[in-house]
């Protein structure tokens, strides 16, 4: 058969291309770590200890480092995730009871490829398939909260312990918050048209039956899409991070959100909710603030508040959820994030 005869050859070509890309990536990452000291100090003649030098160094080094990390993380995650789909997740969750369902939904929220712009059709689809509202909410909370880009960046910048803490805390919040919302009788506050909608026709599994080269192609395209979408946030984040790194006085942030201030986590979460950015844009800020002595629990809470609770997504969800449920959603998730912040400040101190 022509298809099976063609496969090994394309596989080898694909393997070579992937191997070459990985080698290039590693070389670029290695070079970025060594290049800027030489460029700024030796070639441009800037004094190594000057504030301007440190600010410029942070900006150049971090821009390229985070861009490289993003390319690697987004590609690998997209290819891996292409083996899951919202449709398969819903089939797994259909008929689950609360409790076990919340745990499964939170876990699936992490591994299912999902864009928050699909939050509404997914919500309707889940409910129409008999998935309880609280379980559906666990999925919708976990999906942006335990963001794969955030996890990948934390892993590369702060080590696996912090990344594991972040994943565990995010899952915990999604499970508990979804369960609480279910207990509150959330059905009352769902727009009635949701219950009248029936799933028509055949349910389409979007990524089943793709060939491996098509999945690689998807990964490459996703890298382009993500970079195009987030580069402004990334530059703003790195710019602010670089300014903090070079110019902010040591005690500026520790006074308001440092280990000595009992309201530090609360302040960080309240500042984080209205900030609209994404995991990649917020990471250089977290890095700079960490250098300035802010505790990790406060920073994780800040990051979660930025990525999990965003106004655009709340406006989308308003189409299916009435205001009381939306308010309860923000309150329950916000409380969870604050609790996680205090817990980890106490544990990691």
């Amino acid at each position: 058969m022509s298809v099976t005869a063609a496969l090994p050859r394309s596989r080898r070509g694909l393997g070579l291309a992937l191997g070459g890309a990985a080698a290039l990536w590693t070389a670029a990452y290695w070079l970025n770590g060594r290049l800027w000291d030489r460029v700024l100090h030796d070639w441009a003649g800037l004094a190594p200890e000057a504030r301007v030098t440190e600010t410029v160094h942070f900006f150049l080094y971090d821009s390229i480092k985070i861009a490289l990390l993003l390319v690697g993380i987004v590609f690998v995650v997209t290819v891996l995730r292409s083996y899951m789909s919202v449709e398969r997740t819903r089939a797994l969750l259909g008929g689950r009871r609360e409790g076990v369902g919340n745990v499964m939904a939170a876990g699936l929220g992490v591994v299912t490829p999902f864009c928050s712009c699909s939050a509404v059709p997914a919500f309707i689809g889940f409910v129409a398939a008999g998935v309880p509202i609280g379980v559906t909410m666990s999925f919708l909370i976990a999906s942006p909260l335990v963001n794969e880009i955030a996890v990948g960046l934390l892993l590369s910048l702060f080590g696996w312990e912090i990344a594991a803490v972040y994943v565990g805390a995010g899952l915990g919040i999604a499970i508990v918050a979804g369960w609480v919302l279910g207990r509150l009788g959330a059905e009352r506050w769902v727009e009635p048209f949701v219950f009248q909608t029936t799933l028509g026709g055949q349910v389409v599994d979007t990524t089943a039956g793709l060939r491996f080269d098509q999945r690689v192609q998807m990964g490459v395209e996703e890298v382009g899409t993500i970079l195009r979408k987030i580069w402004p946030y990334l530059l703003v984040g790195i710019g602010v991070g670089a300014l903090i790194h070079g110019w902010a006085p040591e005690d500026l942030f520790t006074t308001y959100a440092g280990p000595g201030n009992a309201f530090g986590v609360l302040v960080a979460v309240l500042v984080g909710i209205p900030l609209y950015s994404n995991a990649a844009g917020i990471m250089p800020l977290v890095e700079a603030l960490h250098d300035k002595g802010l505790p990790m629990g406060t920073l994780l809470a800040f990051m979660m508040a930025v990525v999990a609770l965003s106004l655009p997504e709340l406006i989308l969800l308003r189409r299916v959820l009435k205001l009381p449920l939306l308010a309860a959603f923000v309150a329950v998730v916000g409380t969870g994030i604050v609790a996680v912040g205090y817990l980890f400040n106490a544990l990691l101190a």
């Binding site: 919202v86 864009c115 029936t198 026709g201 979007t206 998807m218 899409t225």
Partner: protein, 78 residues
């Protein structure tokens, strides 16, 4: 041929519509392209990840933005 682009109006949906128009122009087929933004109707097709492409009432693609060449193949085989 009746083609429908399903999606609430996000960036991906606009991209899919543009790609579909390109594919139709390249194939030179007679087709009307409609946008469907109403959620109950979208879910009524069994679609949970937007954007999605429906050709003659059959869902041929959902949850991602394909390249023009892929849409051309989908339309040619529909």
């Amino acid at each position: 041929m009746i083609i429908k682009v399903l999606g609430p109006g996000c960036q991906n949906c606009k991209t899919l519509e543009r790609v579909t128009r390109e594919a139709v122009a390249e194939l030179g087929v007679e087709a009307t392209i409609e946008k469907v933004e109403d959620y109950p109707t979208i879910v009524g097709y069994g679609v949970m990840s937007t954007p999605a492409l429906v050709v003659d009432e059959k869902v041929v693609l959902a949850g991602r933005v394909p390249r023009t060449a892929e849409v051309r193949e989908l339309l040619a085989s529909a």
